[in-house]
């Protein structure tokens, strides 16, 4: 689906990525940063899914009677892995955030930097 010569999907993906990046970079709150990271991740996943999409194809799920064309299975596998990894990263990060909060009583970068 094109709009003004641009593929709308890609435009959206880029915008999401930018929003995520903005959150990661500009927000002082660690949780907000992490949310930003997640937004970025989903944006990239969305890109991969979109890129792997074949117009009019079926899902790459093998059931009897499915016939080509179907969406390439490999990008989907990549995304699946990516989601798992993303959750792991998020989990680790959240654990760290909890630790930081326990230790310093804050999860704001601004305040953490002022600590001795």
């Amino acid at each position: 689906m094109l709009l003004f010569g641009l593929d709308l999907d890609y435009v959206a993906v880029v915008m999401l990525f930018c929003v995520g990046l903005y959150m990661l970079v500009a927000k002082s709150n660690l949780l907000k940063k992490l949310l930003g990271l997640n937004v970025m991740e989903t944006a990239v996943f969305a890109f991969i899914v979109t890129a792997g999409m074949v117009e009019g194809g079926d899902p790459p799920i093998m059931v009897a009677g499915t016939s080509a064309p179907f969406a390439s299975p490999i990008p989907h596998a990549m995304v699946l892995t990516g989601i798992v990894v993303a959750v792991s990263v998020t989990a680790v990060a959240l654990a760290l955030i909890v630790q930081i909060h326990a230790h310093f009583g804050t999860i704001e970068i601004d305040e953490l930097k002022e600590l001795p």
Partner: protein
Amino acid sequence: MTGPWAEALPWVIALPLVGAALTPAVAVRRPRAAGFWAWGVLLVTAVLAAGLVSELLARGPFSYELGGWPAAYGIELRFDHFSAWVLPLALLFVVIVPFSWRYLDHVMPDERRPPFYALLLLNAGGMIGFCVTGDLFNLFVFTEVVSLSSYALVAVGGRGLAAFAALKYLFIGAVSSLLMLFATAQLFVLTGSLNMAEVSLRLAEVGGGTAVMVAFAAYAVSFMVKAAMFPVHVWLPDAHAIAPSPVSAVLSGMVVKVGIVGMLRVYQIYYGAEVLELGAFNLALVWLGAVSIVMGAFFAIFQDDIKLMLAYSTISNIGYIVLGLGLASPYAVIGASVHVFNHALIKATLFLAAGSIIHQTGFRTLSDLRGVARAMPQTSAAMAIGAVSIVGLPPTAGFVCKWYIALGAFEANQAPFGFALVFGALFIFIYYIRMLNAFYFQKPVHAAVAQASETPWSMRGPVVLLASLCLILGVLGGIPLTFVEPAVLDLLPLWGP
């Protein structure tokens, strides 16, 4: 045709990963057993790696198709000259792990040892996998394994600050992984394959274009972040300085090399495909390398904390390697590749020695550690050797690399970078002189420092061993070259011997 050892290829990855999974189970009754378990696993891994390398030397690169699918579709493990890096890697782990047995006493309670060693094994397995995979997506997966375990390892020892440093590392690392994933996907979309060799071939058919360029750029940035080159190095110093010393050694010595090895791998794809004009990229690498050297040294000068100093010097040394790669002349690339290993060795020496000193005295700044050499002569000597080595003064391992990279600079008619390299190194030595002065030639200010005792043998042994290796590889600098030279010539086939 493959020899018997080729069958060991999947095992060399699987062993540490499985070992990691089993660690909590093994150590359920005696948490301390985790350390011995991890060591045993790594020892076997090292033996396997040695076997693989011998196979490589005997018969050249070989592949292994997981599940028996042909390379283009299935998952291919490939053992080529770059994969030989797994051997020193495993060996370094084998040396570092015994150091951590006693070291961890002060760092963490016993019950946290099993996860620690599990993470360490995970890290090792990830790196080994990273080196032997012939598949771009697996490259990403293993990168993530390494990265995740590294984030956790940074935080594992300490509480607040360590967690903070780890989080910083995590944020940046995750973004870089994301870029890598993006690039991998992009390449797949363009070529329909994830096998590196296949991608390289198909890229040649697809031809150049913005999409290829974008993918390449994403890879490059991603690996630069992993390698902590100058503008994107910010995550490194804190993470490496705060982590427990064995972890620092692993991170600084090996994990950052994931970026380098990855860059070489990806470079190989593009170089083979000849779809991109890599000259500009090389030039960028050279400049970034030179700037990294100088900036790393510059930051290090102002550090009082010895581990921070070492961390910053990693940035400089990565600068060497990148500079050497960017120069793209045989000698330079040889030098850079050897430095990948030598720097790991040297950094491990330094971090372990620094760790020993911190462990025994409880202090970590130069001003507190004055006169420590008298109390801990062997460790300090190792530290001194490491310092001399990292600066690249003869007759140490660091010199060999500096020599080759400088030679490469002149070979590539880039004399100014040769000068930059040499004098950047001297710049670095300025802060190591401070360290040596403090250790050797100043009066102790703390009684704890003056009365510190040498470390137990399980800690001292690895340090002394590594330090001796630094010296031996300085004199017998040719040994790593036997591995590296064919790899380099493999990588850049246009160069004659």
